[in-house]
């Protein structure tokens, strides 16, 4: 009998068929990996298992019995626990409060803090998940926050623990520690569902693996009997294309982007960037690697001018201008928060930055705005009902193409791309890569930040590794993931 089963689960979001008749079964004490490309439907499936979504068809079984999960409350009651891709923690509450919430110990009608702290300490001890029960969660490092999430599930007696991309935010060291914890937990009979993109992890910690592609199961393997190639084939329907040929001639000329000894402090005076120096020359793609929060945000905001005038940043030899330096094309990571105004039309979104060029003395003619947008939509093969629909109505990949269309058609010589393929499908991904290469070939200096090491290796001529606000290492574009991963943890050399 399986601890948890999803049988024939189908879920549709409007036109998107996120899950299409998926069967998945997890045995007791098993670590079961779920892999698949962005948008394959992994998170949706896990959300269904945790009662966050109701399936359109199919059912969920626990210990062989059918259960109806209307909400996370139901799921928790049925012994399910989940650690979300985006943490669901309360920054203003303590570790203990975050863990016991929903099932708090109470004495004489009052919250029993002592009992809560004790229970949390006991759990930490048992699973080797160290965390100070009375610390405020808001100030904790990412790895510890994740532990709090896991402890919360265990505190609620989870027998099936779902982790959605738990390693995306972790350093390799933290990842290693997490895997130890997962093995300990699984050994006590808890079943673990592990969603991840990283095949090495699947092979390292998983017992079995299920591969999803476009909402369907395309493979079921026992990890001891498979390898990365087989998994990739199931994931994308073909083998990986051989590494892209690098351009013949080397980048040359004066640097278009130069950062000299840049130090940036945050609101509390803590240095987020320390003495960062590098250059990007015309026709060069420089990759930026590092675990989340290593200073990428501060560096990119400094380079684009969004942090104001930063004398340490030189574009074509002169300091970056405050506001948004027009010499930079910038594809931000946060598609709805920064890169677009979701409620405005496609035409008005791709207009941003070009409005003054299109305007005559008094007017910004609508016809011109729409004509230009139609041109971009055609050239970048963006699929949109019309240029007048809100950009928020476009699929993620098409919205991303629109952002690229806008930025890459700016008359700029420096291109900053931040996670340019996050959450987009393979086709878009290849197109995005082609566009970045084309920009490079036309002589732009490209700064590419990505958490996908394979992407950096595919595109970058050089890769800088950021760790705690410093550039700790520089590699050629063909560095191994192992080398890069080591540097990302701060291990120099």
């Amino acid at each position: 009998m399986y601890a948890a089963e999803l049988v024939g689960v189908t879920k549709r979001f409007g036109p998107v068929l996120a899950n299409d008749g998926i069967d998945l079964a997890v045995a007791r004490g098993e670590v079961h990996a779920v892999v698949g490309e962005n948008g394959a439907g992994k998170s949706t499936l896990m959300s269904i298992l945790y009662g966050l979504h109701r399936p359109d068809a199919g059912e969920v079984r626990r210990d062989g019995h059918r259960v109806v999960l209307r909400s996370p409350t139901d799921a928790i009651r049925h012994g399910l626990g989940m650690v979300h891709q985006r943490f669901r923690l309360f920054p203003g509450l303590t570790v203990a409060e975050n863990i016991v919430i929903g099932a708090e110990p109470v004495r004489k009608g009052r919250l029993d803090r002592a009992a809560a702290n004790e229970a949390v300490a006991a759990l930490s001890e048992r699973y080797g998940l160290r965390a100070d029960p009375s610390a405020l969660v808001g100030g904790l490092p990412v790895g510890v926050r994740q532990r709090v999430e896991i402890l919360r599930a265990l505190y609620r007696h989870a027998e099936v623990l779902i982790l959605d991309e738990p390693t995306a935010v972790l350093t390799p060291g933290e990842t290693e520690r997490l895997f130890e914890v997962l093995r300990t937990v699984a050994a006590t009979g808890v079943s673990i569902l592990l969603v991840t993109h990283k095949l090495s992890e699947v092979l390292a910690v998983g017992d079995r693996v299920t591969v999803l592609r476009q909402g369907r199961v395309t493979g079921r393997f026992t990890t001891s009997e498979t390898d990365a190639d087989e998994l990739v084939n199931a994931m994308i329907g073909r083998s990986l294309t051989p590494p892209v040929r690098r351009r013949a001639h080397a980048p040359a000329g004066d640097p278009l982007l130069e950062v000299r000894d840049l130090t940036v402090r945050d609101a509390d005076g803590v240095a987020r960037l320390s003495e960062v120096s590098f250059t990007v020359r015309p026709g060069e793609i420089v990759g930026l690697a590092g675990v989340a929060g290593s200073g990428q945000r501060e560096l990119i905001d400094s380079v684009t001018g969004l942090r104001g005038a930063v004398p340490e940043v030189l574009l074509t030899g002169t300091p970056v201008k405050a506001g948004r330096d027009p010499r930079v094309a910038y594809v931000p990571e946060d598609r709805h928060g920064r890169a677009t105004a979701p409620a405005m039309s496609v035409a008005e979104n791709v207009l941003m930055g070009a409005q003054r060029d299109l305007a005559s003395r008094w007017a910004l003619p609508r016809a011109k705005v729409r004509a230009r947008a139609r041109d971009l939509v055609d050239r970048f093969s963006i699929s949109a009902a019309s240029v007048d629909v809100p950009i928020g109505a476009l699929s993620g990949g098409n919205a991303q193409k629109a952002v690229l269309a806008r930025e890459l058609t700016r008359p700029s010589t420096v291109v900053v791309a931040e996670e340019p393929t996050q959450g987009v499908d393979v086709g878009v991904r290849e197109r995005v890569h082609d566009l970045l290469r084309a920009a490079r070939d036309e002589g732009a200096a490209v700064l590419l930040q990505s958490s996908e090491l394979s992407e950096l290796r595919d595109l970058a001529d050089r890769i800088l590794v950021l760790y705690e606000g410093r550039v700790v290492a520089e590699f050629p574009g063909d560095a191994t993931e192992k080398e890069l991963g080591r540097a990302m943890t701060g291990a120099t050399g």
Partner: protein, 297 residues
């Protein structure tokens, strides 16, 4: 301490009490992540119903109960659209403030047959603490709801930090999705606080129309609900700070009166509470900024 200062303190408390009661409701909503700027309308509605019920029944306490009940019902007009349907709470509140203004003025004419101000010797006001045997300076001439308001500050502080439901409420306000994910009935809590805020505004209104005075006049909330909103903004989720913010307003109003006595024009007194409240907001914001000003080395 001489009589002059006692009377000043009494004036401060009188001005503070209704604002504080309403602001406590606003604070609860803020803790639970509901933006409630309908306090002004609810305060006015509470004041009106308190007078109507007291006039009908001859009992001030029935009036208070009626105000609380009626304002809870009124606040459902906020919680329904804003919490259940997730409508823009600002827009709904703007509508409700207008509705309260119109409804009270309209019903006043229907019930009492005239607009403007209604008072009558038969209208029972809340007793003074002095009459109830608490013959202490400052409190002597206050209604029992004044100490109740002060007590509620402590009760709320205790509730939010020491009880299970208080913890859950704070959780809901901090991270809605997370609260949902740990199995809390998020909208239940949000409905709850919105209605409790209604009850508190009912008390605030009753204190205004049956405690501070014994009558109803059109628009008598006169911006107090907005001051309460500002007090909530100033104090975050801390009831103690809320008390201070509301006292600041009380002092500003009482001080404004003194300004007149000192020869300044009446208009200066009118403006004083707003100017002082705004100044406090600005100072608080600047202080927040200064704490971070060593950011650029």
């Amino acid at each position: 301490m001489n009589v002059f200062e006692w009377s000043f303190l009494a004036g401060v408390l009188t001005a503070t009490a209704p604002v504080l009661l309403a602001a406590l409701g606003g604070l609860l909503c803020q803790v639970a992540g509901v933006f409630n700027i309908a306090l002004e309308g609810q305060l006015l509605w509470g004041a009106f119903v308190a007078v109507v019920v007291s006039d009908l029944t001859g009992s001030a306490w029935t009036g208070v109960a009626g105000a609380v009940a009626a304002t809870v019902v009124f606040s459902a007009l906020l919680s329904g659209p804003a919490v259940a349907l997730r409508a823009d709470p600002i827009v709904v509140a703007v509508g409700l403030n207008l509705l309260a203004l119109g409804l009270t003025a309209f019903l006043m004419r229907q019930i009492f047959g005239s607009g403007g101000t209604y008072s009558s010797p038969e209208l029972a006001g809340l007793p003074d603490l002095g009459e109830l045997g608490l013959d202490v300076p400052v409190l002597r001439e206050q209604s029992p709801l004044v100490p109740v308001a002060l007590l509620l500050v402590a009760v709320l502080a205790f509730w939010l930090t020491r009880t299970r439901s208080g913890l859950r409420l704070r959780a809901v306000g901090q991270h809605l999705d997370a609260a949902q994910a740990v199995g809390l009935r998020v909208s239940g809590y949000q409905h709850g606080v919105t209605l409790v805020a209604g009850a508190l505004c009912g008390l605030a209104g009753a204190q205004l129309s049956l405690g501070n005075v014994t009558l109803f006049s059109e628009g008598m909330s006169a911006g107090r609900g907005w001051i309460a909103v500002v007090a909530v903004m100033l104090s975050g989720v801390y009831p103690g700070r809320l008390l201070l913010a509301c006292l600041l307003f009380g002092v500003a109003e009482a001080f404004g009166f003194r300004l007149q006595g000192a020869g300044l024009p009446q208009q200066a007194a009118d403006a004083a509470p707003y100017v002082i409240t705004l100044a406090a907001l600005v100072l608080a914001a600047v202080a927040r900024r200064r704490r971070r000003s060593y950011e650029h080395a």
